[in-house]
Every structure is written in structure tokens, then in C-alpha cells.
Amino acid sequence: MHVIELRNVTKDYGRGRGVFGVSLTLAEGGTLGYLGPNGAGKTTTIRQLMGFVRPDKGAVRVFGADPFGSAAVQRKIGYLPGETAFPPDMTGDAFLRFVASLKGVKSMARANELRERFELDGRARLKKMSKGTRQKVALICAFLHDPELYLLDEPTSGLDPLMQRRFAELVEEELSRGKTMLLSSHQFEEVERLCGEAAILREGRLAACGRMDELQKARSRMFRIRFRTENAAAAFSRVFPQAVCRGAELSLTVPQPDAARVLRLAVTYGVDDLFVRAQTLEELFLHYYDREGA
């Protein structure tokens, strides 16, 4: 059974905002990195999964049920909102106790453990806290009732690198316990490291979606080749017109299946030095982002 299922979901907020015809699924134990620029519709998607917002068209299913206003579904979800908004008049600790009691969590042991892990001093009033500290409070709220599914909207925003690492460790622990997770992010490295699957959203539409290893294949290979002579470089660049030539040095980006051909051909022209790397997820993402202008 799919834990998350979106079938052709459209939510139109007008002026191109919202999500349009998004379909995706996430199986139990899976991790989906949900990537996209600001305003692409990541938060709108998550709000529909939470049952805060109803789609105009299509169907949303979480644990096989319509999440809209469903208390049973909420019980199984740990939610981190994209905006950290709290009641202003409470301290961090009082708020954590309040959220725990709302969720019917009797023991504060887990919350205390998380508080130590994130080095949170919860004695201050929430409105006096820095962005990062408030984010820690929000994270603890999402994790304290040991849910089965996590929906985390930009979980590391505002966290310093050390806390980002602590968060990554926490996520890995939860995943090893078989939890399912959807994580929206701008941090490509984070998604690359933590998520088995990724979906890229652009202007409310899915631009790419798949297993991380498949996306890995979809990434272009970027060559930088220094030939023995400038003539060799010039001759080689006639075969690959997209190559950029500077003297004997040449840079070239090709789809992954063409990589072997580039290598074979380069050798015949006489290679002095060679440097290859895979396009990062970020570059892949920017590539989808850029198409907007194209």
C-alpha cells in the first residue's frame, strides 16, 4: 500500500500559483525529497496531504484515506510547517508540553531527548526566540509522538550546519526504523543524502520524479579534457558542437549514455588530462528551473 498517493491533483490559486495535475506515490518506508523553487507549490502539496486544504481536482490519499479533517490520519503524521508560527504568549517548554498533551503523549521523555539532541533552551518565550531556535521547537513537535509518516516542509531552514547534521542523523535513525518521509527542501545535498526518491516541482507541475539512482542516470556527465594539441581540441569540438574550447582545453556536458562515446573518441585525439564529474542534483534542478526562460 502507498502511504502517500496523489492522483492528478490540481489546486489553482490563480495567477499561476498552486499545483496542477500532480501525481506521485510514496511507499511505506520510502523517503521523497520534494524540490522546487519558491512558489513552485511544495507547501500547497504538503497542506493537501495534511488535509488542511482540499484539492480542486484529483484525489489525495494518506494511509489510503482522505486526509481532509481526518483525526485518524493526523495521529500517524509528524508535521513540520514551512512557516514557524506559534502562539506568542508561551515559552518553548510550555508549548512542547501543550503539543504533547494535544497529541495525547503522556511521557515527555522523547521530547526531552530531542531537546537535548538539538540543544534547545526552551525557557524563553517563543516570540523572543531566534528563527533557528523556533525551528528546533517546531522539529521537536513533529517528532515527539513517534509518528509513522513525516511531512517536513523545509526542515533545516534556519538551522546551523551542526544542527543540520543532528537533524540528518535523526532522520536516518527514523528511516532505519521503517518510517516514511516526505521532505521538501532547497538543500540538494541533504535530499541527495537522505532521500531514496526525489520529485522536482516547477510552477506547480512535476518536472521530474523518480528514484534517486535513476535521477543519477538522468544527470549529465561533465567533461573537462586537455588535449595534447590545440588542433586536436578543435577537431574534437567539431564532433561535439556544444563543447566549449579554450586553447587545448575543452569542456563538454553530455547525457550519461553518451559518456562512453566521448571517452573513446577523446582517446583517439590524444588526451593529456581528463576530469569528469556527474551533474549535481542542484545543477539538474537549475536545469529544470532554467527551462522556464527557454
Binding site: 488542511f52 493526523q74 508535521y79 508560527a85 504568549d89 501543550f98 503539543v99 497529541k103
Partner: protein, 264 residues
């Protein structure tokens, strides 16, 4: 009903409740102390000198008894305005602010149905308004007995107080429904407040002079017939209408809250 939310809402309403009650006690006590069967004459003279001003604040006629005096001087303005203010501020705090800032996410993400969450907030809202009136009535009765033994007709004042409660059920329903229907504080607080303040101002205007009497048909507050209730000659069906409409507004607001999109 969601117990943790109920107690948290009670706690966060307590401050406002205390302030409003303190103001009511202060003004109420002063007004009661001003009552003097002999001083009634000079007050009448004042009222005759500037009848419009007195009338605007619901102080019309010549109060003969302590009960009439209180109904005129307290139930015409003070006891409408301050519980109404409490109603507006609590609707903002209990519903509108949560939705406007997005902190409602933590309520919605808890394993409770929306209906239970909003019913809890409605219960606190209703309770606070009813309690402010009940506590005032109790204090007022005790105060009157202490200062002017035997002068007060508690039954008559009780009838007017029930009528007042009905009026506040209606006003509370308006501001609570508004807080439930809209997401943006500009509207969720603004629409309800604008409506009840307009009702109130129209009521004040139509008390000023007979020339404005036609205005009474523009404000539901006319259904609070304090003089008839005090005299025991009527005003009951009007009060029932107010209370019934008010409760219906609470229910309608809650129903919208359960069905609407909430960006959180």
C-alpha cells in the same frame, strides 16, 4: 471537546476576562454608589438639561427605583459595550489569530477533528461571555443589598440580565462566526467587529431623539427590550430570537470552519 486546548484557552482568556470584569466592577460600583433616592431629583435635572446625551447612553426616563436606575444607567451602555469588547477580543484570540498566523497548524495536526477543536473554542467564548455577565450580576446584587438593603428587585434585574445575556449570545455569534469564516485577520476580526459596532452605534443614535426612531429597525439590538423585561411586560420572544440566532451563528461558523481550506 479537546481538554488540553480547553484549559489552555481558558488560561489565555483569563487576563482579558479579568481586566474587563475589573472595569465593569469599578464603573458598576461607582454607579450603584451614586444612587440616592433623594439625589434622583438632581440627576433628573441634569438629564432634563441634556436629554440627548443621557438618552444616547440609554439613560432615558426618570428612574424611580434602584432597579430602574441600574437598568437605565448600566444595562443601557456599559453592560453592552464591555462584554461586547470581551467577545471581540476573545474571538480574535481563540480563533482568528491562530488561523491568521498559521499557528492553527499545531491544532489541526493533532489527532482531533476540526469540529472538536472549534467546539472547544466556542465553549470558551460562550463561557467567558456568560461568566462576565453572571459574575457582574451576582456582584451587583450583593453590592446593592449591602448599600441599599431591600431597594433592589433582584427578580426584575435577573430578567433584564437574562435578556442581556441573550443579546451577548447574538453579538458573540456574529464575531465568532466571522472569525471562523475568514482566514485573513483583516476580515476575520474586521467584519465581525464592524457589524457589532455598527449595531451598537445605530442603537445609540436611535435613542437620542424620536426623529431617529426609525433607525431601531436597522439594529438587532432593539430586540433587547430592557424596560419591558424589567417591568415584566414583555421582551421575552425578542430575547429568545436573539439567543437562538446567536447560537445558530456559532453553529454556522463552526460548520464553515470544518469545511474550509486553512492555509497552515
Amino acid at each position: 471537546m479537546v481538554r488540553p486546548l480547553f484549559f489552555r484557552s481558558l488560561r489565555s482568556s483569563a487576563g482579558l476576562f479579568g481586566i474587563i470584569l475589573a472595569v465593569l466592577a469599578l464603573y458598576g460600583g461607582t454607579i450603584i454608589a451614586m444612587y440616592d433616592p433623594d439625589l434622583g431629583e438632581s440627576l433628573n435635572m441634569m438629564a432634563n438639561a441634556m436629554p440627548e446625551l443621557f438618552a444616547a447612553f440609554g439613560m432615558a426616563g426618570t428612574p424611580a427605583t434602584l432597579t430602574d436606575f441600574l437598568v437605565n444607567y448600566l444595562y443601557g451602555f456599559l453592560l453592552i459595550a464591555f462584554p461586547m469588547l470581551l467577545s471581540i477580543l476573545l474571538a480574535k484570540r481563540l480563533v482568528a489569530s491562530y488561523v491568521d498566523t498559521g499557528s492553527v497548524a499545531y491544532l489541526l495536526a493533532s489527532p482531533h477533528a476540526r469540529a472538536a477543536l472549534i467546539a472547544t473554542q466556542a465553549a470558551v467564548h460562550l463561557l467567558a461571555c456568560a461568566a462576565s455577565i453572571a459574575v457582574f450580576f451576582a456582584g451587583c446584587t450583593v453590592c446593592c443589598e449591602a448599600m441599599f438593603p431591600g431597594e433592589l428587585d433582584p427578580e426584575a434585574l435577573g430578567r433584564v440580565t437574562l435578556g442581556l445575556w441573550a443579546l451577548h449570545l447574538f453579538l458573540g455569534g456574529v464575531v465568532f462566526a466571522s472569525a471562523c469564516v475568514f482566514n485573513d485577520a483583516k476580515y476575520s476580526v474586521g467584519v465581525g467587529t464592524a457589524l457589532v459596532v455598527a449595531f451598537f452605534l445605530v442603537r445609540m443614535a436611535c435613542q437620542v431623539s424620536d426623529a431617529f426612531e426609525w433607525l431601531q429597525y436597522l439594529t438587532p439590538m432593539t430586540l433587547f427590550a430592557q424596560d419591558e423585561l424589567a417591568a415584566g411586560t414583555g421582551g421575552v420572544w425578542q430575547s429568545c430570537t436573539l439567543a437562538g440566532t446567536g447560537l445558530a451563528l456559532y453553529l454556522a461558523g463552526g460548520a464553515v470552519f470544518c469545511r474550509k481550506d486553512i492555509p497552515a
